[in-house]
Amino acid sequence: MFYREAGQFKTTYAADQALFPIRQDRYAMLAIVAIAFVGIPLFSSNYWLTALLIPFLVFSLASLGLNILTGYAGQLSLGTAAFMAVGAVAAYNFQLRIPGMPILLSFVLGGGTAALVGILFGLPSLRIKGFYLAVATLAAQFFIPWLVTKVGWFSNYSASGVITAQPIVIFGQALDTPREKYLLVLCIVALMALLAKNLVRSRIGRAWMAVRDMDVAAEVIGIRILRTKLIAFAVSSFYCGVAGALYAFAYLGSVEPDGFNLDLSFRILFMVIVGGVGSILGSFLGAAFITLMPILLDVLLTAGSHAFNLNLEPGVTSMMQLLVFGALIIFFLIVEPHGLARLWQITKEKLRLWPFPY
């Protein structure tokens, strides 16, 4: 009833090409943006901002990066966390070594460094495909944190190798409350998501999809495979690098190279798969699911054992959490192998007909 596109005519090419061609989508998007920028900062507690929303946004950005590489260009990577590490460490060093460096530029340069490293590790993708490539990106995953730990210069010779991120100062204004940090992260993520959305609709985005669907065929129609793949690696790593910098500066505040481990890479891959491969919206849905679900489970299990006076041992709830989380992932994959984004799409289809499905 409410979600009908009947009567909305597109009279120009520009209207046809709009990001959100349906009016209701536009309004919904505007509402979401308004809530994110105004509503949440006004009404959220510090716990929600620092422990849930900032990591959610940071992980959204990282899974957006991986989704560009895996979802759009079809190159499976298990090295996401390593590229995040490059971004974080590079941003830290730009900030440390160049006096008067604006922090935003440090983030961009951190992303740029990650992009260069990404290109380097993307080179083998010309010859290696599928799972073999995935395991090959593991080389990056293990090599980069090792290098950061071993070469003291990267962490400014701190005895333990842990990096303490500098405070975020923009135009002389220190952003230190959770609210300010949240807004900064939100701005960056929104901007980069918009960029990504447009990028995947552009010429290069179409080239990525052609390579993903069948690289031999893509080559035949004149797409330069190596270049296309390398650009995918570069853009993806750039996103991951910026996400890593935000992870260090806006979220945790300190970074241990071991924090960027294989587990984190898997988490981000999960976000992409559960959210929806090849979908910008899916990156956000997946990040929300994977960051919030374990916390939700934890709260539920603890509350449940209190409510029913089960008096469960703390260890048991921890184990239950792991078990249920694993089961949920399998469940979602079975219900909708194409991810939450696809589920959303189906809902929208149904909504168009509602309440008269015939």
Binding site: L138, A139, W146, V216, F266, I273, V277, I330, L333
Partner: protein, 311 residues
């Protein structure tokens, strides 16, 4: 010179331990095209069930072994029924992700049943240098490693015979070749998958016993899967022989690199940048980088099946 051989042989034997884990991956990949990330969790589950049974019910070795094996078979059948069957025909990556979910599930389940305590597993095999070799050649080689090598050899032989001679084995190879063709000639695909997952469970139990006897049965057993990955790349995902050869190559080269490569790298850095660094621990990534180089030359692994792309 004897030290070099000690490193080499020690490395080869360590590689055998990697192969034991890699075998489980190969079996499942061969039959169902699934890269089963839960193999590490299965190793953990198998070993934990084994010691748990011994501890709780005081079962003798064989009793615990048979029951643990039964548990692995049940797990394999349930996995096929609940996880794989609804996901037939999905892209590989979805299946891969499902096995990661499965890994979480198994890890949680195993610890929920048996607790988090670290346990000792005693197989009655001495993990000490063989005195004869130590005195004669000044080489410290453990009897345990040699037995592990024998076990791996027997396991591979049994598997090879199973695949080549038995009816199920032939059906399995047919399934590996082409699911649809196999279905068309009347091979029960579902049964075959359940069998393969059970056999992989058996391999996991063996690997779990060997690794657990050395380091204790604890959560870290799940990490042995990481050591198996480069072995698979070098050997190829589909080849049992590849798993063994790959394991030997990785084991030996990794140890040689750590012992002889690190000083060389440190020297190189000193020459090039005039800074002295301690660079130990290259084992962490060396296997992967070597696998990467291997792949550049042979993208389908040493024994993998060559893939031809057609438009």
């Amino acid at each position: 010179m004897s030290f070099f051989f000690e490193v080499l042989i020690g490395g080869l034997l360590a590689g055998v331990m990697y192969s034991l884990v890699a075998l489980g991956f190969v079996l499942i990949y061969k039959a169902s095209g699934v890269f089963n990330f839960a193999q590490g969790a299965m190793v953990f589950f198998a070993a934990l069930t084994f010691v748990g049974l011994q501890e709780k019910f005081g079962l003798p070795f064989w009793g615990a072994f048979v029951l643990a094996l039964a548990a692995m078979v049940v797990l394999g059948i349930l996995t096929e029924r609940i996880v794989l069957r609804p996901l037939v025909n999905q892209p590989q990556i979805t299946l891969f992700m499902a096995t990661i979910g499965l890994a979480f599930f198994i890890e949680g389940l195993a610890q929920l049943i048996w607790g988090t305590n670290v346990r000792r597993l005693d197989l009655g095999i001495k993990d000490e240098p063989i005195p004869f070799l130590l005195e004669r050649f000044d080489m410290a080689l453990s009897g345990f490693d040699l037995i592990a090598a024998v076990v791996a050899g027997v396991l591979v032989t049994v598997l090879a015979v199973f695949f080549q001679v038995t009816r199920v084995g032939r059906a399995l190879r047919a399934v590996a070749d082409d699911h649809q063709a196999a279905l068309a000639v009347g091979i029960p695909l579902k049964q075959i998958w359940a069998i393969v997952w059970s056999v992989a469970g058996f391999v996991a139990l063996i690997a779990g016993l060997m690794w657990g006897a050395r380091n204790g049965v604890q959560f870290a057993l799940t990490f042995v899967a990481l050591k198996a990955l480069p072995v698979l790349i070098i050997g190829g995902f589909e080849s049992v022989t590849g798993a063994i050869v790959g394991g030997l190559i990785i084991g030996a080269s990794e140890k040689l690199a750590e012992i002889y490569g690190v000083p060389f790298l440190e020297w190189l850095v000193r020459m090039l940048f005039n800074i002295s660094l301690t660079l130990g621990g290259i084992e962490l990534w060396f296997a992967y980088v070597m696998a990467l180089l291997f792949l550049l030359i042979r993208p389908e692994g040493l024994f993998g099946e060559k893939r031809i792309d057609r438009v």
